[in-house]
C-alpha cells in the first residue's frame, strides 16, 4: 500500500511537472515560436494518429487529418487557455475533423472491414492454425461491426479499447463525468455485441 502510494505520488508529481512544462511550451507557441509547437506535435503525434486511424480506418487519411488538426491548433493557439490540457483541446479539433470527414465524404472513408495488414494486427500470432481460421472470422466480424456503429459509439470504443485511456482521461477529453463515460461504453459495447451476434449467427 505504501509502495502504491509512493508510485501514485511520483506519478502525480511527474504529471504536474509535465503540465508545467507543457504550459511553458504553449506560452512560447502563443508568442509565435514554431519550434516550441514542434515539441507538442512530437509529444502527441502518435496518440493523435492512432485515434484518427481508429475513426477513419485508413493510414493516409489518419495521417492527413491528424496533421491538419495540428495546423488548425497552431492557428488558434493564441485563443487557447494555458491552464487547460493541450491534448483535451486538440482532441476536440481532431474529433470534429474526423467526424466531418466521415459524414461529408462517406464514400472516401474506408470502413474498418477494409483494414489491411498494414493497419491492424491480426489477433495472436502464436496460435494454432485451426484457431486462426476462427479468429480470422471473429476479427473480420468485429471490424465490420465497428464500422457499422454510430460514430459516437465507435469513438468511445476507440478511446477505451484501442487507445487504452483510463475513464478519467476519457472523461477529460470528452468533457463529461466518469459515470457518463461508463454508461456510453455500455451502450456502445451493447450495440457492438448485438451486431456481432447477428453477423456470427447469420453466417
Amino acid at each position: 500500500m505504501a509502495a502504491a502510494d509512493s508510485i501514485s505520488s511520483a506519478n502525480l508529481s511527474r504529471q504536474a511537472f509535465d503540465f508545467k512544462e507543457e504550459k511553458e511550451t504553449i506560452i512560447k507557441c502563443q508568442n509565435g515560436d514554431k519550434q516550441a509547437f514542434g515539441i507538442l506535435v512530437k509529444k502527441y503525434m502518435q496518440r493523435a494518429y492512432y485515434i484518427a486511424l481508429g475513426f477513419i480506418g485508413s493510414h493516409e487519411n489518419a495521417l492527413d487529418l491528424s496533421q491538419e488538426a495540428f495546423v488548425k491548433a497552431f492557428r488558434a493557439i493564441k485563443r487557447f487557455d494555458v491552464d487547460k490540457r493541450f491534448f483535451t483541446w486538440y482532441y476536440q479539433i481532431l474529433r470534429n475533423l474526423c467526424f466531418n470527414f466521415l459524414r461529408d465524404r462517406a464514400k472516401h472513408a474506408r470502413p474498418f472491414s477494409e483494414f489491411d495488414d498494414h493497419e491492424i494486427n491480426r489477433i495472436h500470432e502464436d496460435s494454432a492454425a485451426s484457431d486462426d481460421v476462427e479468429r480470422e472470422e471473429i476479427v473480420s466480424a468485429v471490424q465490420k461491426a465497428l464500422s457499422e456503429l454510430k460514430i459516437k459509439d465507435r469513438e468511445i470504443i476507440v478511446l477505451k479499447d484501442f487507445q487504452d485511456l483510463s475513464y478519467k482521461e476519457i472523461a477529460e477529453v470528452l468533457d463529461c463525468p466518469i459515470g457518463t463515460v461508463m454508461s456510453r461504453l455500455y451502450y456502445a459495447r451493447a450495440a457492438l455485441k448485438t451486431k456481432l451476434e447477428r453477423m456470427l449467427y447469420d453466417e
Binding site: 495521417l63 496533421q67 498494414h118 471490424q143 455500455y186
Partner: protein, 152 residues
C-alpha cells in the same frame, strides 16, 4: 426482478469491472449483485470476451519514417498556409492596381470609341460590385452562423 435503475447500475459496474476501473467499494457491490443474480453471469462473460477481442485488435504501427517526417509535414502545412495568405493579399493588391490603371488608360485613350469605353467601364464596375457582394455575404454568414463552432 431487477428494476431498470438497478440494471443500469449493474451495467455501469460491469463496464468498470471488465476495464479494471472499480474502486474497492464498487467491486464489492458488483460481486454482491453477481452473487444475488446468477442470471447476469452469462452477460458478464460475454462482455469480458468482447473486451478481450477489441483490446487485442491493435492497429499496426506505420513505418518509422512517418514519425521522423511528421513534424516536418505539419510545419510545411503551417508555412504553406501563411504562403497562400500572402499570395492572396499580393494578388488582390496587384489586381486592384491593374484594374485601376486599365480604367485610367481606357478613359484617357482618345482613339477608343465611347461605346467601347462604356463597355469596359461597365464590365469593371460589375466585376467590382460582384466581388464586394460575395465578400460581404461570406462575412455576414460567418458572423451570424450559429453553427460555425458546431460540428457538422
Amino acid at each position: 426482478m431487477m428494476s431498470e435503475s438497478e440494471k443500469d447500475r449493474f451495467h455501469i459496474l460491469l463496464m468498470g469491472a471488465i476495464d479494471g476501473e472499480l474502486s474497492e467499494n464498487e467491486m464489492r457491490e458488483f460481486e454482491r449483485i453477481r452473487d444475488e443474480r446468477p442470471e447476469y453471469e452469462k452477460e458478464f462473460e460475454q462482455y469480458k470476451k468482447l473486451k478481450e477481442v477489441t483490446t487485442r485488435m491493435r492497429p499496426k504501427s506505420p513505418p518509422v519514417e512517418v514519425w521522423d517526417t511528421y513534424w516536418m509535414m505539419v510545419y510545411n502545412k503551417i508555412e504553406r498556409g501563411i504562403g497562400w495568405l500572402l499570395f492572396t493579399i499580393g494578388s488582390v493588391i496587384l489586381l486592384t492596381y491593374g484594374g485601376f490603371k486599365l480604367v485610367e488608360s481606357v478613359i484617357s485613350n482618345p482613339h477608343l470609341l465611347w461605346i467601347v469605353k462604356a463597355g469596359i467601364l461597365l464590365l469593371m464596375g460589375g466585376l467590382s460590385v460582384l466581388l464586394v457582394s460575395v465578400i460581404r455575404e461570406r462575412m455576414f454568414t460567418y458572423k451570424r452562423d450559429p453553427y460555425k463552432e458546431i460540428m457538422r
